[in-house]
Assembly symmetry: C2
Homo-oligomer: 365 residues x 2
């Protein structure tokens, strides 16, 4: 029964991709990026997936062959010989089947195939993004489970935050707990770690590196947890306080909290990404913190940590039922402190967060 639902889910995705491709006169859809290969086949690893009316085929190397065969759903697997190039295999398979659409321009396989098939190859990453944006029932169920894990992780944070703990050690314990719960640690190239623990003045860096700094009495601590569960990312931030909390911190916290909550209320099918950003930014600006809100309001999230749409100033994209996006305003006072509150939410008429962990300012230690 479960298998049937899974196969149906993959069939639906493949059909949607082929339909989008057909509008560009293409009859084959091709990907070699792990996220899209996973989306098409159920296998996460090295390989190239090809969808056509004849069915779906995964081409991979002997290193991945056995694991691929076990992972794919309703999909042929063709494994190259040791030392044999995959390019020839893929090329033979796709030749004279009509125009082909790749999701990514950069990789050697794509470049080779483009050289041979010339005008019969186009590159269009948007085909995948437009289909991936709307999450199906299976995806929403997985992200819902991931949300529950985040709640457990933030509860665990309460036992870890205390004076004299190093940022790095706090992050280490949290990462271990996440992996133990069944989460994987995603690749996000421009930060060095999937979890941010930024304390005291470090919290003023939205993407703070992990440091050896020890938490002090009266610190603010920003904890941004990004984990992957069964393929899907969830991205959530809470800010905690230690010891006596200065009034300025309390004030800023309340601004961020109300901006974030109003932001979630503004997330609705039909609203533009710019509408949501504007709502959030107006609240921050009205309180005099305009210059300290130094990033966008949020981003799409799914198989990638950051994917379309971007919730930013002037954003024109229209939010759709079933999308998952973050809402994450922050205020960062250089050399002093920063505060960010972030949820991953499901876009719907009654948009709600995948996490339930409190947004009250918790004062610990």
């Amino acid at each position: 029964m479960v298998v049937t639902i899974l196969v149906d889910m993959f069939t639906k995705r493949r059909r949607s991709l082929l339909e989008k491709a057909r509008k560009k006169d293409c009859y084959i859809v091709c990907s070699a990026t792990p996220q899209n290969v996973f989306y098409i086949t159920g296998f996460w690893g090295d390989g190239t997936a090809v969808i056509s009316e004849d069915g779906t085929t995964l081409f991979t190397n002997p290193l991945e062959g056995e694991r691929a065969k076990r992972s794919v759903k309703d999909c042929d697997v063709i494994v190259s010989e040791i030392g044999e190039s995959l390019k020839e295999l893929v090329l033979r398979h796709v030749s004279s089947k009509g125009k082909l659409c790749f999701d990514d321009i950069q990789m050697p396989l794509q470049i080779t195939i483009k050289k041979v098939l010339k005008d019969d190859v186009i590159f269009d990453p948007d085909i995948f993004h437009s289909v991936r944006r709307i999450k199906d029932e299976g995806e929403i169920s997985v992200i819902t489970q991931a949300g529950k894990m985040i709640d457990k992780l933030f509860s665990h944070v309460l036992t870890l935050i205390r004076p004299k703990v190093r940022e790095r050690d706090l992050a280490a314990e949290l990462l271990a707990k996440a992996v133990s719960f069944g989460c994987d640690l995603p690749a996000f190239p421009s930060t060095q770690n999937p979890i941010i623990v930024a304390s005291g003045p470090n919290s003023a860096f939205p993407h703070g590196d992990l440091t050896e700094r020890k938490l002090l009495e009266d610190d603010v601590v920003v904890i941004d947890i990004v984990v992957r569960f069964k393929g899907y990312i969830i991205d959530t931030t809470r800010t905690f306080a230690l010891g006596r909390v200065q009034d300025e911190i309390k004030d800023v916290y309340e601004v961020v909290r109300s901006a974030q909550e109003e932001g979630i209320n503004a997330v609705k099918p039909g609203a533009t990404t710019g509408d949501v950003d504007k709502k959030v930014r107006e609240i921050v600006d009205a309180k005099g913190y305009k210059q300290f809100f130094i990033h966008g309001t949020g981003h799409g999230v799914g198989l990638d940590v950051h994917e379309p749409p971007s919730l930013k100033i002037g954003g024109k994209e229209v939010l759709q039922n079933g999308e998952t996006v973050t809402v994450e305003p922050g205020i960062y006072i250089p050399h002093k402190f920063g505060i960010r509150i972030e949820d991953t939410v499901l876009v719907s008429e009654r948009t709600k967060s995948f996490t339930r962990f409190t947004k009250e300012l918790l004062v610990l230690g």
Copy 2:
């Protein structure tokens, strides 16, 4: 004093990149990939770095601005306004300065600049790779420290491997220790986690996912640790055994061990990547395991987990003094077990591994 050495190191890198670019008639070198931006500027994050005869400039957004200013070495930092696009800033800076070389074709910034400057823009990732391949003194010192951490991590593994422990929990404890030691967790898109713990039949998957499987008496356990330290990757694998070890496992282990040691002996300036692969493969083939050695012998390693050169069948690239590469033969008997031994080594007349942890088969539990 330390600062002087650092600045000299960056000056040397930038000069080498400009020299390589000049051979292609380019006078500006540009990157927006975190690894190359770090290599040029010392900052790891979102941004675009531009090198010319006039100096080096990092363009970044307000989110990263403060952190960037603290991280860069001998480099101007230009931060956009909130909501302003970096493209315009970069375009203005590089216009009418002569031909420009980008390292990557794929990103919106590059595509925009190419559209405007047309034939004055070329794409060539190899310029960076050819310079990055040869590690300088500072880089070798960092990787040497990373090697000592790997030794400590494998010593810690000895306390973690025992029957009934789940693969996932073992990995969790090891990740926590690594982060605590000062390591970061790198992004490698085609695997879900930076540490592989593959036990029993799972060890026959070279890139095994973390599972809930509990270690059993008489298991083989492959542990592949990939961590980043001060920017640089080290990639090392050891295989352990539990309980009573079958003769077949002992035999295969000795084949892999001798192949790996002979492989390291074959790594020398002037040898080709194919020479090393051939040496290793001959030992495995001679013992009758040809069909079970299902991947290449190794790969370059540095700011990326996998970078040129690839040590594979027929590889023609010539190894050079100061490169860092892995040597990692493995034998994988489907549904039964797999064994891999891997070191990251420094290419020199007396090539040696950055790690000293024993390659004897350790039988635990």
